[in-house]
């Protein structure tokens, strides 16, 4: 069953100069519980894509439906990690994580317990009462991830969520994210720059072209879950990664 469906979506930004043809036309779907990774060159419209699907920006052309509903305003029940961590300066770490629960008027005491669990799992529990400016870049990012996970949303949209993390922490995050996927069956859209990560976490990888981003390739990742980190050394895995890499290399020149 497809929950997210894009049809001929385009996005043109008006700006201080000439318009920017940022995205599309692009069409694809995400099934319920599926994880789709999106990779593509910098500036090809990945973040734009995420915003359009989440209803945070309107498509210039085409339609987006989520759970059968045409998206015209921000959709609920989704946890988003933006490319910038977007923590609120005036809230401590724990209060930042609790924000979605507050906004949804959920039981704060229970939410607080879950928040602390998440922070512990992500390795930033010691900093729960500190303010964002007292954290390192990677710690901020992890707090943003905890915030997105707090309300157990049925969808997760992640925009380069692990970019500020070292290789090992990143691996651990991948494992944690996979657990969430398996246990909660959350539909996930993952934008990432790491081809390995894209393949490791996804049921399907979408490779986008340079700006305006279109689908270059869609690759199904057939490995069963739970996947072990060592899977990445398997030749089948390397084959898929290689196929993606070739698309990148074909694009050749750098694109704005």
């Amino acid at each position: 069953m497809t929950t997210v469906l894009l049809q001929d979506v385009r996005k043109v930004y008006g700006g201080t100069q000439a318009d920017v043809d940022a995205l599309g036309p692009i069409s694809f779907g995400i099934a319920k519980g599926e994880t789709v990774s999106v990779v593509g060159p910098s500036g090809c419209g990945k973040s734009t894509l995420l915003r359009v699907i989440a209803g945070l920006d309107s498509a210039t052309a085409g339609t987006v439906t989520v759970a059968g509903q045409l998206v015209s305003s921000p959709i609920g029940d989704v946890g988003i990690v933006f490319q910038r961590d977007l923590l609120l300066d005036w809230r401590s770490v724990i209060d930042n994580v609790l924000l979605p629960a507050e906004l949804r008027r959920m039981d704060l005491s229970a939410a607080r317990t879950r928040a602390m669990q998440l922070l512990a799992e992500l390795g930033v529990a010691d900093f729960a009462l500190r303010y964002p400016w007292e954290l390192s870049g990677g710690m901020r990012q992890r707090v943003a991830i905890a915030r997105a996970l707090l309300c157990k949303p049925s969808m997760l949209f992640l925009d380069e969520p692990f970019s500020a993390l070292d290789a090992l922490t990143r691996d651990q995050m991948n494992v944690i994210l996979q657990q969430v996927q398996i246990h909660e069956g959350v539909t996930t859209l993952l934008i990432t720059h790491s081809i390995q990560e894209a393949v490791f976490l996804a049921d399907r990888v979408i490779v986008m072209s340079g700006r305006p981003g279109r689908t270059l390739d869609e690759i199904v990742v057939p490995f069963a879950r739970p996947r072990r980190l060592s899977l990445r050394e398997a030749p089948e895995f390397a084959a898929i990664a290689g196929r993606i890499r070739i698309h990148f290399e074909r694009t050749g020149i750098l694109v704005g």
Binding site: L99, L103, M116, W133
Partner: protein, 288 residues
């Protein structure tokens, strides 16, 4: 799970820091800052008064024109109970009026930010009201609202609401669009966006408005008392000025100045306490 419990949990998991030079350094810096915070203003106050005293003595200013500070202080001391009583009345009007202006100003600012319609219809009237001398319409006030506290409070409101509105609007409009999108995606309603994002983000700016208005409120009350009142510092001032009792007038002004400074430091303290997270309150990096 309470903040207390979280703290306990953190404590348990944390190795004690081997030494705390940062803490010590901070304490020293704080102590020095406190000394500076008290000493400099006092020194500058004393210096200012000394210059004033010298000017009066050297130019032989007659007291009905400009009394010497010693004279003013003596007068203040002499009339202190009466001055304080009058100040109480003025301060009450200023306090009530300012409180209304603050709430009303922030609400109006929020409405102006939220609705283009309000922006385009209400704001110009506020501007007009701000841009005309109130002296012309003051008598109308008296006629409609009557004498006394009510009209005085309205004067205070009229005097103080505009800086709050303008700074609220500026602050509310400055919210990071991405932050608004973030909470929108968490299902925030308009009011929540206002309350959880826009207002905290606007606080530094609102505080600028508050600083301007809170210190202006007693002036508004006094002007209200000039127009119509039988009590308060304004009434006292008019009497003193009319009767060429300039030292008494200056004593009243002196009391107002002290009161104004007190309000100012109170506001700054509240600001520090309310928005410790803001760059303006975090102290400087490298003394930049």
């Amino acid at each position: 799970m309470t903040a207390q419990e979280i703290k306990a949990e953190i404590k348990a998991g944390e190795q004690p820091s081997a030494f705390s030079p940062a803490l010590a350094a901070r304490r020293r810096a704080q102590a020095r800052a406190d000394r500076v915070a008290v000493f400099y203003p006092l020194a500058s106050g004393v210096l200012g008064l000394a210059i004033w005293e010298a000017v009066v003595r050297i130019l032989k200013m007659p007291p009905y024109l400009l009394p010497a500070p010693t004279h003013v202080l003596a007068e203040t001391w002499l009339y202190l109970p009466m001055l304080l009583k009058q100040l109480g009345i003025t301060a009450f009007a200023a306090g009530v009026g300012f409180a209304i202006a603050l709430v009303g100003g922030v609400v109006a600012g929020a409405a102006i930010t939220a609705s283009r319609f309000v922006d385009r219809t209400l704001y110009p009237w506020l501007v007009i009201w701000h841009a005309i001398p109130k002296a012309v319409v003051a008598p109308l006030f008296i006629v409609w609202i009557g004498f006394g506290m009510t009209s005085e409070i309205i004067f205070v409101i009229v005097f103080t609401v505009f800086p709050i509105v303008v700074n609220t609007v500026t602050g509310l409009k400055s919210a990071d669009p991405d932050l608004l999108l973030l909470v929108r995606s968490m299902g925030a309603e308009r009011f929540q966006m206002l309350w959880k994002i826009r207002i905290p983000n606007a606080l530094p700016s609102i505080f600028a408005g508050i600083k301007i208005s809170a210190t202006l409120a007693p002036v508004g009350a006094v002007i209200g008392e000039f127009v119509a009142a039988n009590q308060g510092l304004g009434h006292l001032l008019i009497q003193a000025i009319g009767g060429l009792e300039t030292p008494l007038a200056f004593a009243a002004v002196f009391v107002m100045a002290v009161f104004g400074i007190a309000i100012w430091y109170l506001t700054e303290a509240i600001e520090r306490w309310t928005i410790p997270w803001h760059a303006s309150q975090r102290g400087s990096v490298l003394g930049l």
